[in-house]
Every structure is written in structure tokens, then in C-alpha cells.
């Protein structure tokens, strides 16, 4: 019984002393973060979540997900179904710092669909990112098309601590 209580407590105190990015260094006295070292710290044990945006607005950045917290961005993906060629780009902001933004056509093609003369169709792809975020995560998408986009979907797969 006693060891069951002490072990997690030791882990708690150890981490309070070790972590330099605890909230007490950035915020007020109220926010003292501590990291409990247990099995939930393992990446593989975290619960995956999927945020989805099916908004068809063109040529504007649209948030797929905007998180205050910590965890991992696992992957992003997009798909579209339209009579015109559709280009989709992503912007990834980790802890307030832009890590990637599709600016040029080549960059957008990294996540882009292929097109055919008649109709664009694509399934999802899930490039593995596993990007760590400590305080915030923001994933946005931008869609370009010659005319209105009928169907578009962008997703972000993430895990929270």
C-alpha cells in the first residue's frame, strides 16, 4: 500500500525539480506544472484524436484545429472531389512558431491531389509527422481551385498528454 503511494509521488517531485519549462517560469504562481511519469507518458499509449474541416472556402487559411495544451501532431491529410484541379496546402504552427506553410505550388503539391481531365478524386494520405508541441498547436489549410470547390476535407491527427 505504502509503496503504491510513494512511487508516483517520487516521480512527481522529481519532475517538478527537473523540468525547466514548467509553467511557473512563464506564468504566475498559480500555474505550477508537473509531469507524472507513468505509462501515459509513452507516445504509444496516448489517445489519438482527429480534427476535421470540410469548409469549402477558397484562398483563405482555415483552422483545422487550434489547441492550447501539449501533445503530438501525428499527421495531416486532405482530400477533394471536384471537376477542377484542386490544390491544398497546410500551415503548421507549434508553440506559436510556424514550422511549415505551403507557399509555393511545389510546397502545396506535397499534400496536393492529382487531377484528371474529368474529375479530381483522392483518398486520404497520412504522412507521419509526430511533431511535439508543448503549449499550443495550430493546423490550418488553404484550398485553391479555378472555381467553387464542391467537396474538400482536411484532417489533423493529434495526441494530447
Amino acid at each position: 500500500m505504502a509503496s503504491g503511494l510513494i512511487a508516483p509521488l517520487l516521480g512527481l517531485l522529481y519532475q517538478i525539480g527537473q523540468r525547466e519549462d514548467s509553467a511557473s517560469t512563464t506564468g504566475g504562481a498559480l500555474a505550477r506544472l508537473a509531469w507524472v511519469v507513468n505509462k501515459q507518458d509513452a507516445f504509444k499509449d496516448k489517445t489519438p484524436y482527429i480534427a476535421k474541416s470540410t469548409n469549402t472556402v477558397r484562398d483563405s487559411w482555415v483552422d483545422v484545429v487550434n489547441i492550447t495544451g501539449s501533445g503530438y501532431l501525428t499527421s495531416v491529410a486532405a482530400g477533394a472531389y471536384d471537376t477542377d484541379e484542386v490544390t491544398i496546402g497546410f500551415r503548421i504552427v507549434i508553440d506559436g512558431v510556424e514550422k511549415f506553410a505551403a507557399g509555393s505550388l511545389a510546397e502545396k503539391q506535397f499534400f496536393q491531389l492529382t487531377s484528371s481531365y474529368d474529375r479530381v478524386t483522392s483518398g486520404f494520405t497520412f504522412p507521419t509527422l509526430n511533431m511535439r508541441f508543448k503549449t499550443s498547436l495550430r493546423v490550418q489549410r488553404i484550398v485553391s481551385c479555378a472555381s467553387s470547390v464542391s467537396n474538400v476535407c482536411a484532417v489533423a491527427v493529434y495526441q494530447l498528454d
Partner: protein
Amino acid sequence: MLEQIGDAIYQVEEVESAGLVVFDEKAGKYKPFVHVVRTHHCFARKLVIEGNTSTTINTPLTLTVRLLDWEGNPLDESLEARIAARGNTVTLQLENGVGELDFVSPIAGTFKIEAQADRCDEGLLEVVVNE
């Protein structure tokens, strides 16, 4: 819970951490850290298309495009909207949140008409053109 930030409405979800805790000075104990997850719900503005949903070949069908807020209240703004059907797009200037156009088709069929503008949810209307 929905929250407006700028010109977008977000679905806000609070997710308690499974392993991360924060010290609550008032309570004098640790409590689970709460992640705040915002996902795009809709834009603060939207377009709607009003009009009959059927017509005949070469018969003009008058459609009205309105600019509303996300809860359906009329907005008194000027806006350039793109109206598209089967890959054909025209530009419609909305004055005081309203614009009209005539839809004419030389062929029969079902047409999905879309009204779009930047940072604005689109309006959709399906029109059947009969012989």
C-alpha cells in the same frame, strides 16, 4: 460550446489530461491539466441563395443571394460573391447584404448552385431544369 474568434466560430472542447497535472494553489492540491481544443465550426458570416428550385429550359429563374451572420441574422454589408454552377462562375456584387441574378440553362438537368465569398460560409441551392 461555441466561441467566436475573429471571423470564425469554433467548437471548443476541454479535454482533461490523462497524465499531466497542474497545482491548484487555492485547493492546495494537484488537478488534471485541461487541454483546450478548438476546431473550426463555421465562419461568422454565411451566404444563402433563395429562389424557386425548378424552372424550364431557357426560362430565367431569379435567385436572391443574401449575406447573413452565422445565426441567420441579415448583415448590412457590401460584398463580392462568386456564384458557380457546373464549373461556370459569375461575380455578383451584394449591396446592403443582398444581390439578385437570373439563372438560365439551355439544357435540362439538376444544377447545384453555389455562392461563395472569402472568409464566409457558402450558400447552396439545387435547381432542377425541366424540358
